[in-house]
């Protein structure tokens, strides 16, 4: 029965979403509030139905209902309880339902928050959001039905892809999808602004916190994806410029640009056209990313399902982008700036430059990602674009962005005087230059590493200078140090939330720089009792053992590692053999540290345990990437607190 109820629920939700979308639009146009109200009820109905269907699918997974094709393909009787839940979104159909559920949830929250306050924009935003929900429901009824039946009913399922049986896979898709779907809200309001012609600040101030939420979850999703890649895939890296990674990174870049450029519009009434274009681009890129991931058009290590789904997404992408840009062309005359750039040396121009670099980075990533397709279409030649291209183009851009990160928040609006520059930047620049010299004297040979770290120090110094100065100012008003600091953070939470996020990015930069500049690795075959050395670590192979787990057999290698300082420890990298997968899955063993991670991957081994090949890596400073993620979380939390005006 469950599949029928689920399928019926999705059809009903689709009908409601279409109705709601149309009703909200007609209601807005004819100023009939009862229609808008009816659309709101439809939005609630959609949310309830999608929640119900999602719960049904989870239930089908928990009870091993192999009459549902999707369940049979992605779980088996040995799948542990937690992974049976995460298996729900382990493949296409389930990820679409999760995505739709989040979108329906966001639509509900938008409705609850903005129905009283956001006047003319709100009904059109509701139209847009419900329209997008309707598309995803359509996908679930035609090309990717989660409740399709399987007949005859198999006694055992195929099982979840072993690589996805990891805690990172619980959180990575959720964070990523919350980010992707989150950008729907500012996009919906920007369309509403174009439709109504109210292209001023209203849509931006309404959605400012929504944008930060979406941006934060997208960042978190990218970081967790990196963490998953690092500790599961066993190649010792966290980012490979794979098309699917790029797909998530591009909207992050344009979304970051958008977060900054809206500040100029709020402050100086400039960049209306640019801001609307950026959010259209960002939302378009989230759809493009989904298209790329699901269509199989570009070869990727993320080998996902192919099928007619690609055509659906491409059609929808075309519809969305063409509609949005046509509206933009229609409102062209209203999108002209009121303010003008007064001076090149001003915060506006630094922000503009930041935008140019971010969009340039997004463009190069886009270009590199679709280039294989372009090359094949134009010249009939297959090429692949790899990490060297992306690194070469993006590293200078990112270094420039880090530099601007130090300048932007402190330089004056409109026109920075020499005095302003000296007051804010003399100390940080001196500290940055000294840091570069010290790093050089410490024997760091890589100019790139020195530059990256010196820039990091410069930005950290500029943030500190600002914070110390502001604290001092409050101290003069008679506050104690800690209350003064706390007051600053809370009263100007948007500004200081931004600063904390910048610090998080700096910490991540430290991790990326360190891991690229100083990581070392070796691969060696050892006989039992034999030892080898790498970077001060001595590791000895002590033998193998095989254990039977609930759904796989695990062969572990035992390695005793000592580094002369602490006592010896045993690491047990393993290979897991799943019956449904012919190739074994590597299970990495590692010890994380602030300075370096020790990382062991088991390769081929002799069945009698007499010898084994092991890859050993000492990865420097990688932990700081994850720590940076935590700092980012703090900053984002601070930035989305309701703003309190200073008394």
């Amino acid at each position: 029965m469950i599949p029928e109820i689920g399928y019926g629920g999705l059809i009903a939700a689709l009908a409601l979403a279409v109705f709601g979308s149309v009703a909200a639009g007609v209601g807005a146009r004819t100023r009939r509030s009862e229609l808008v109200q009816s659309a709101q009820h439809a939005a609630i109905g959609v949310f309830v139905l999608v929640t119900l269907c999602f719960a049904l699918l989870v239930y089908a997974f928990l009870t091993f209902d192999f009459s549902v094709r999707y369940v049979a393909l992605n779980t088996n009787l040995g799948t542990p309880f937690y992974y049976r839940i995460t298996a729900v979104w382990g493949a296409l159909e389930g990820s679409i339902i999760l995505w739709t559920w989040m979108l329906a949830l966001y639509t509900m929250i938008v409705m609850l928050r903005h129905r009283q306050t956001s006047g003319d924009l709100y009904p059109w935003a509701l139209t847009t959001m419900l329209g997008i929900v309707a598309f995803f429901l359509l996908v679930m009824t035609i090309p990717a039905p989660p409740f399709e039946r399987l007949s005859p009913i198999p006694l055992e399922g195929r099982g979840l892809n072993p690589l996805l049986q990891d805690t990172g896979m619980i959180t990575h898709p959720i964070a990523l999808y919350l980010g992707f779907t989150g950008f729907t809200v500012p996009f919906a309001f920007s369309l509403a602004a174009l439709i109504t012609g109210r292209v001023g600040d209203e849509w931006i101030t309404t959605t400012r916190r929504w944008t930060i939420v979406a941006w934060y979850f997208l960042s978190l999703g990218l970081l967790i994806g990196g963490w998953w890649s690092y500790h599961v895939l066993g190649w010792g890296g966290y980012w490979a410029w794979d098309p699917v990674e790029n797909a998530a990174f591009m909207p992050w870049l344009t979304g970051t640009a958008f977060l900054h450029s809206v500040m100029i519009q709020e402050r100086r009434r400039m960049l209306k056209l640019w801001n609307i274009s950026l959010i259209i681009l960002t939302f378009g890129l989230t759809l493009f990313g989904t298209f790329l991931t699901r269509s199989g058009v570009i070869a990727s290590v993320h080998a996902f399902t192919q099928g007619s789904i690609g055509a659906f997404f491409l059609g929808f992408l075309a519809l969305v982008v063409l509609t949005a840009l046509t509206l933009l062309a229609w409102r062209w005359d209203r999108l002209h700036a009121q303010g003008e750039l007064d001076s090149v040396v001003s915060r506006e121009s630094v922000f503009l430059l930041n935008n140019v670099f971010l969009v340039a980075a997004a463009f190069t990533v886009f270009f590199g990602t679709v280039f294989p397709l372009l090359s094949e279409a134009v010249r009939g030649v297959k090429v692949s674009v790899g990490a060297p291209f992306f690194n070469q183009v993006n590293i200078p851009l990112f270094l420039a962005l880090i530099f601007l990160m130090g300048v932007g928040p402190l330089i004056a609006w409109r026109r920075a005087s020499a005095d302003n520059l000296k007051r804010n930047f003399l100390a940080p620049v001196v500290i940055g230059v000294v840091a570069a010299l010290v790093l050089r004297l410490l024997g760091i040979a890589s100019a790139l590493a020195v530059l990256a770290l010196a820039l990091t120090v410069f930005v950290a110094a500029s943030i500190t200078v600002d914070f110390v100065r502001a604290t001092r100012a409050r101290r003069r008003l008679g506050e104690a140090v800690l209350p003064a600091m706390g007051g600053l953070l809370l009263r100007h939470n948007r500004r200081y939330g931004g600063f904390v996020i910048h610090l998080g990015i700096l910490v991540i930069t430290l991790g990326i720089t360190g891991s690229h500049a100083w990581s070392v690795q070796t691969e060696t075959t050892l006989k039992r009792g034999e030892a080898a050395e790498l970077a001060g670590y001595r590791f000895r192979f002590d033998g193998l053992s095989a254990t039977e787990e609930s759904n796989h057999v695990k062969v572990s290698g035992f390695f005793t590692v000592s580094n002369g300082r602490a006592g010896a420890m045993t690491l047990q990298p393993a290979r897991k053999f799943y019956p449904q997968e012919q190739a074994p899955i590597a299970y990495v063993d590692y010890r994380l540290g602030l300075k370096e991670d020790l990382y062991l991957v088991l390769g081929d081994f002799a069945r009698d345990g007499s010898q084994a090949t092991v890859k050993v890596q000492v990865n420097r400073l990688v932990s700081w990437i994850w720590i940076g993620g935590l700092v980012l979380t703090l900053g984002a939390a601070l930035a989305i607190l309701p703003e309190r005006r200073a008394r």
Binding site: F291, S295, G296, V297, I298, A299, G310, A311, L314, L317, A318, V321, L322, L325, T326, L328, A329, W332, D333, V370, L373, L374, E376, A377, V381, K382, E581, Q582, A583
Partner: protein, 176 residues
């Protein structure tokens, strides 16, 4: 109407969308081989039973090298009976067919060979070196070698009887 050019803005994305639509027509796995026309790298590998098979020993004959794996469903399973039939049809005319099993376990490989009663030699590329030499991107892939030991054609995906016949007839027809 003034500023008519602004309507070009939405039109500007059409080429991009067309390119993506074009992508549907392509198979991303269909990688052309730079090895076509070049001498095939030689190898000596053991069969599942432990008999040694050397490519060099077959210089002068038309050789088909087929890369497969027991986990490659459904393509390798589709292809195996086709290869076996073709082998039986052509072995009298001097054709040599060598199957190379990659990234596989011996038991699964043996099972596969038994299931399809494969009678042509199947060797195991345990280290993966041979598949790297041939630039194998995925399985199945089939290479057609002429009498002088050069790779003349490569087929990605399950090979059909027609494709097999077409390449082999052409190469058999060439003088030594």
């Amino acid at each position: 109407m003034k500023r008519a050019w602004r309507w070009l803005i939405p039109l500007s994305v059409v080429p991009m969308l067309a390119l993506l639509a074009y992508g549907f027509r392509l198979n991303p796995r269909d990688v052309p081989s730079p090895l076509i026309g070049r001498p095939a790298s030689v190898f000596t590998l053991n069969t599942v039973e432990g008999t040694s098979v050397s490519l060099e020993a077959h210089r002068g004959a038309v050789v088909v090298v087929n890369f497969w794996a027991s986990w490659c469903r459904p393509a390798c399973y589709e292809e195996a009976p086709v290869l076996e039939r073709a082998w039986r049809a052509y072995q009298d005319r001097g054709l040599v067919l060598i199957g190379v099993d990659i990234q596989d376990t011996p038991d699964a490989a043996r099972q596969f060979i038994n299931d399809f009663s494969l009678s042509f030699p199947n060797v195991r590329d345990v280290t993966g070196k041979v598949s790297v030499d041939y630039g194998v991107y995925g399985v199945p892939e089939t290479f057609f070698l002429d009498r002088r030991g050069r790779i003349r054609a490569k087929h990605v995906g399950a090979v059909s009887e027609e494709i097999f016949r077409q390449h082999v007839e052409r190469l058999l027809g060439e003088p030594a």
